[in-house]
Symmetry: C2
Subunit: 212 residues, 2 copies
DNA sequence: ACCAATGGTGACCACCTGGTCACTTCTAAC
DNA sequence: GTTAGAAGTGACCAGGTGGTCACCATTGGT
């Protein structure tokens, strides 16, 4: 930890939270480059120098903020792996629901993540995306291998292809959930998170053939 | 058409193409706000005033450029609807392949589209995304209704949910194809466009149960 | 040869950006 | 009450932005 970050850690928890919340909102609204340090300090009612004392640079602020968030990203997965119940598809559905809950709890973090996905110039992009992907892939691979062993998934299923497929479907499911406008004009009649998670799980289970 | 845009239309086709190509690259590399008019004219070797004579504003340039591209977006769909062969899933696979071909032919346009998806402040976003989505949804709905009528899709299949599902899977398939880093760490062993399209089609057909 | 129209130019403008730093204020130990 | 060290400040800076406009160059019609 740098000397400056220590200064920030010394602050009262209340102030720390306010600073991080306001900065997170700014990055979520505008992405990295278009986010303005001036606007952040103005909304916080503090001097610009203070923020630079805490984090050194704009990038340092972002690193601190998103780095802490990535840890949160991983928590729901661990919970399902360790305490999930039912067969393979039950756990898949639980994962859909847990991811949706995460987006509900940290919408601005997820908005930053989505902007980072396709913006090649986002600072620290490779590091953060790599970390998230690695955790996701590990979790899914474990789930699928377990499904083949215990839950009747075909033994000749190509694991890597299955991981890729499930990951894609989950990714897109969450995108649509976090940015509803993404699915306007292709609106499903299933409106709740539960219904959409069920529909996606059924797709993975039986394809389009069986809509039950 | 504005007076200024007419000036641009009067130019030689060669110069018009160079200008549009260079501007498209800049927007694809940096997104809208971070794209620099100064860099564009510098690379083109023309004066900044010229570009503003052609398009009035930065937004005018972007509108001209992306508006023309949206028309291209729609062409592959029409071709499949009018000349596609085989049953429902054959046409779905053809759609995967045609979309991939479009991304290959116009990579920078697709990169702009991806940036626009999650950047709420992208100018003209609602208009352009709405137009694209509407065309996609109409095409898919027609395909699915046809599949229920003629190709043995279950008659109780909820059409809107199916449209939403197919659309999601296609979206994410293309994302991964256009931004390979998106699937690093969850790499499928199917490496060609054909193989990935086949895998995705099989998912839609029979779910994870049957990997053939 | 002249003119009008069109395309082309680049110095210049106001504005905003991330970042700096000499300075003041606060706090707690003695 | 004094003092050391930490927290907080905001005017200032260099550099980049989109956009302007008075001026120049080229061309084709008469």
């Amino acid at each position: 930890m740098t000397q400056s970050a220590k200064t920030f850690e010394n602050l009262s928890g209340e102030k720390r939270e306010r600073v991080l919340a306001e900065a997170t909102r700014e990055f979520a609204d505008h992405g990295y480059h278009q986010a303005s340090v001036n606007r952040i300090v103005q909304r916080l009612g503090i001097a610009k120098g203070s923020l630079f004392k805490y984090f050194g640079t704009k990038e340092g602020l972002f690193e601190y903020l998103f780095g802490h968030a990535v840890a949160e990203f991983k928590k729901p997965l661990k919970v399902i792996r360790d305490t999930g119940t039912g067969d393979f598809f039950d756990r898949i559905e639980q994962t859909f629901l847990a991811s949706g809950a995460f987006v509900d709890a940290h919408p601005n973090i997820y908005r930053i993540y989505l902007k980072m996905l396709f913006n090649e110039r986002f600072p620290l992009r490779d590091r953060f995306l790599g970390e998230i992907r690695k955790a996701n892939a590990k979790f899914l691979r474990q789930l699928i291998e377990n499904g083949i062993e215990s839950d009747g998934l075909p033994s000749d299923l190509d694991v890597e292809t299955a991981v890729y497929t499930v990951h894609s479907v989950m990714d897109r499911f969450l995108q649509g959930y976090a940015v509803p406008s993404l699915d306007q004009g292709v609106e499903s009649t299933e409106h709740t998170l539960q219904d959409k998670a069920r529909a996606m799980t059924n797709l993975l289970r039986r394809g389009l053939a069986d809509p039950s």
